[in-house]
Amino acid sequence: EPAEPELDNEISDREPDVGDDGDSSSRPDPKTLVEIEKNLLSLFGFPNRPKIDRSKVVIPEAMKQLYAQIMGHDLVDSVSVPKEGLNTRNANTVRSFTHEESHIDERFQHHHRFRLLFNVSSIPRGEKLRAAELTLTRDGIARKSSRALGRTPLVYQVLVYDIVRPGVKGKRAPTFLLVDTKMLAINESGTASFDVMPAVERWLRQPRKNHGLYVQVTSGHSRGPVHSRQRRSVPAAPVHEHVRLRRNVAERHDTWVQKQPLLFTYTDDGRHKQRPIRDAISSANRARR
């Protein structure tokens, strides 16, 4: 393989005078190099080197930010992912998933409700789920003036359901289980996070019964009580433009990929040793002590 001749350089000392006599005969034979790579891949938990087409994969900005956050973290021994608002203690792996498009998407004509399907089958069976969150991007309205908003509601509600059993047209209504809900302000931008751990836990337990998440956006009102009938009504146009559930027809693919809904799973692969809390102190504290 083309990479093999370079493999011994990679794991050798940087200082040329230590153990490097410049003699190519000291290099390991190809069999040993294959063995070295196998061992390294096993260390990272891979059976083989993954074959990836990078042009098709977009790295979510949130993953890059989380990586930067972990790299800047002061905990020397900890492998836990620091994520505010989620119980990610002992979770050492984060996976991101995007919606799997299908013909079912066409059934949702309006932007205020949508079914999101995430294929979580790539999560190894041995890994323990610690947390799962759905993130939705909000944009559009924040840039508009309050006059432009007119009489649209200032807050709206987003409800996230686990589709326990899909409906059959004219025969059976679908069965939903509400997993999380949030009131969002229309003048705010950024992402909104929803705890969907019960749904992902169920999908991992019953992979065939993963019918996705049903997300519904309903209008709310901050200026006094709202009749239940009003609450259920289809929201005014800017509200469903605010929270992004699906791609607009005119929207460019590269713009949409950074705004699309994402599912993040936080798992524990069990490969790390549990250490007493006293060991997981910061390097700064250790130096001071």
């Binding site: 083309p2 990479a3 370079e6 493999l7 350089n9 990679e10 794991i11 000392d13 940087r14 200082e15 005078d17 230590v18 790579e37 390294l40 260390l43 990272f44 938990g45 891979f46 083989n48 080197r49 993954p50 074959k51 990836i52 087409d53 990078r54 098709k56 994969v57 790295i59 979510p60 993953m63 890059k64 989380l66 990586y67 972990i70 790299m71 020397v76 021994d77 900890s78 492998v79 836990s80 992912v81 050492n92 792996t93 984060v94 996976r95 991101s96 998933f97 790539s122 692969d269 490969r271 790390h272 040793k273 390097s283």
Partner: protein
């Protein structure tokens, strides 16, 4: 010169040395998004009596080094090994083209000592 350098190295006290693992050298940068490589470090050097405080030694290593300094045939010197390690994070793509962020324990040497 080489022999002189080699002899000097043999007498160096136990300490941390640089070791960089570059993922692009093995062509792994197509699936490992970040980091491009990482500082692994290694420990090398001599554990001589008396062992300095910063070498984070154990009582047993002190006794072993003491016995060795008295008569090297009775016991070898204590070993220069990593005594503190830290984890690294890796952002990569798996076989299903999913983006994964994983923390790996004990990947970087933070401190070396005599054990």
């Amino acid at each position: 010169a080489s022999a002189k350098r080699s002899s000097r190295r043999k007498n160096e006290l136990c300490q941390r040395k640089p070791l960089y693992v570059d993922f692009s050298d093995v062509g792994w940068n197509d699936w490992i998004v970040a980091p491009p490589g990482y500082e692994a470090y290694y420990c090398q050097g001599d554990c001589r009596f008396p062992i300095a405080d910063h070498l984070n030694t154990t009582n047993h290593a002190i006794v072993q080094t003491l016995v060795n300094s008295y008569n090297p045939t009775l016991a070898p010197k204590a070993c220069c090994v990593p005594t503190q390690l830290s984890s690294i994070s890796m952002l990569y793509l798996n076989e299903q083209n999913k983006v994964v962020l994983k923390n790996y324990q004990d990947m970087t040497v933070v401190g070396c000592g005599c054990r």
